[in-house]
């Protein structure tokens, strides 16, 4: 197994608050990697650090062979890291299909002049984006809603759309932040199935989730955080047995 994403002594302080404190972890290529921890443990902050949304206070982040510490988000994305957000950040006033199309930004080349001239580059790009966008929507079962405004979707659809949008980036590694939050069990199953399917196709998945059933069922490895500090990293079985984890996460 080769490492694909890892950190070294990673820290993020907000003023005096140590949101992430000296965290080392590593994700192997091709696995499903879970991050758990009580609310406020620093999981989302960790995601924001990995994707360049937040600057790092101390420490290093590596992706494949290179260092990506403090790269801006758009560069991180170009390298093949895609993400979803805990509080769903869709482009609400845009149509569902348009949302997905933005995901293809890095794979298309149209500039302003091409758009104005309506030349072949634009046509090729638009065709490609349109077709592939539809394919992605089909994948998440949202083809019938392609012309809805994103803001009018149900919670579950929004989550799925966010995943579809992230997939458009053609990531090697996908970071999903609580994909099952607010979903009913049936919807949750669908998402789990989707993520597992993606994983089979070779995308490494890193997932933050509160729903233990989801995490324990699908993850190859789990990182447990509490108050910004790493408590443990291991398989589901290992983590579940760890007394520290049980205490921190489930309460005494």
């Amino acid at each position: 197994m080769t490492k694909i994403l890892s950190s070294e002594n990673l820290c993020k302080y907000f003023g005096g608050v140590r949101a992430v404190d000296q965290v080392d972890f590593s994700v192997d290529k091709g696995e499903i990697f879970g991050i758990i921890g009580p609310n406020g443990a620093g999981k989302t902050t960790l995601f924001n650090l990995l994707t360049g949304t937040l600057g790092v206070t101390k420490g290093k982040i590596y992706f494949k062979d290179g260092e990506i510490t403090n790269l801006p988000p758009q560069k991180v994305t170009r390298l093949g890291i895609a993400r979803t957000f805990q509080n769903i950040k869709l482009f609400e006033e845009m149509e569902v299909l348009e949302n997905v199309k933005i995901g293809f930004h890095t794979q298309t080349k149209t500039n302003m002049l091409d758009a104005v001239l309506k030349n072949n580059k634009l046509k090729e790009d638009e065709e490609k984006v349109h077709l592939e966008g539809l394919k992605l929507l089909e994948r998440v079962n949202m083809l019938d809603k392609k012309n809805n405004l994103a803001k009018n979707l149900s919670y579950g659809d929004k989550r799925r759309l966010e995943i579809a949008r992230a997939l458009a980036v053609k990531p090697e590694i996908l970071l999903v932040d609580e994909p099952a939050a607010g979903m009913n069990p049936h919807e949750t199953d669908e998402v789990v199935e989707l993520l597992e399917q993606l994983n089979k196709e070779g995308i490494t998945v890193v997932i933050i989730e509160h729903d233990m059933k989801v995490i324990m069922g699908m993850c190859d490895e789990i990182l447990v955080l509490n108050n910004g500090v790493k408590l443990a990293q291991g398989t589901a079985a290992e983590v579940q047995k760890n007394p520290e984890v049980i205490e921190a996460y489930l309460g005494k």
């Binding site: 005096g16 009580p38 609310n39 406020g40 443990a41 803001k151 009018n152 979707l153 149900s154 919670y155 609580e178 939050a181 607010g182 979903m183 009913n184 509160h210 729903d211 233990m212 059933k213 989801v214 995490i215 324990m216 509490n226 108050n227 579940q240 205490e247 921190a248 489930l250 309460g251 005494k252």
Partner: protein, 238 residues
């Protein structure tokens, strides 16, 4: 004492609370548990009317308070300690506590001082930091401040939203103990919303379990704790 009937809350097209009913009797600790996004916080926000309700009724001590403005609901004696604490970050600790007694316009200075002293008795840490800005407190201290601020209102019922959120285990323990004390010593009725089901159930008399906007279970504590369905629905693994 507090009764919600067919309460509905929508955010745009998202139905966060899909018509739930529940009841809290005087002197009880009742807990609403459930995972993130289940609609617990929205329920409380709907009761204290800082969120518009899409439907339903709220009855407090026999009176319909469904559409009273938020500050009048506070006057009735309903205290809501919101999720994420929401203390006033640029007010000092003491000013925060003062804000707790904001609605008590008829209380004398002596009564106020008295109550303040009592709060400092319960929370000695707050006394040490009385002149610091609320924003500079640690998470646990902020939670205590939020609870103390609520207690300054002399509430008939206290609605606590995730008081254990983001706190170290030891602190969670303290807070939970505190809530029990408030209930037993001051006779305040408690409606506790929690993710940490075990903790919440350890002190509650009764509990409701919410999932995606609906109440899926409700029972007395003893039964809920031992109900295998709860572990399945909520904790995932045991």
């Amino acid at each position: 004492m507090l009764k919600a009937e067919d309460l509905k809350i929508h955010y745009g097209h998202v139905e966060a609370v899909k018509g739930i009913s529940f009841e809290v009797e005087a002197g009880e600790i009742v807990t609403i548990i459930g995972s993130n996004g289940a609609g617990k916080s929205s329920t409380l926000r709907g009761i204290s009317n800082i969120e518009d309700k899409a439907g339903g009724k709220v009855i407090f001590q026999g009176e319909d308070i469904t559409s009273l403005p938020a500050h009048e609901i506070v006057d009735k004696g309903i205290c809501h300690v919101p999720e994420g604490r929401h203390i006033f970050s640029q007010l000092t600790v003491e000013e925060n506590l003062y804000m707790g007694s904001y609605s008590k316009t008829d209380q004398t200075k002596a009564e106020y001082q008295d109550k303040l002293a009592r709060m400092y008795d319960i929370f000695p840490r707050l006394k040490e930091r009385r002149n610091q800005d609320g924003g500079n407190l640690s998470g646990g201290e902020q939670q205590m401040l939020a609870i103390a601020r609520g207690l300054m209102m002399d509430p008939v019922i206290m609605m606590l939203d995730e008081p254990s959120l983001g706190l170290a285990p030891l602190l969670v323990e303290q807070i939970i103990k505190l809530i029990k004390e408030i209930n037993e010593d001051l006779g305040t009725t408690i409606l506790l919303v929690e993710q940490n089901a075990r903790k919440a159930l350890s002190i509650a008399h009764r509990g409701y379990v919410m999932e995606t906007g609906n109440i899926i279970m409700s029972d007395r504590r003893e039964k809920l704790i031992n109900d295998p369905k709860l572990a399945e629905a909520y904790l995932g693994v045991g």
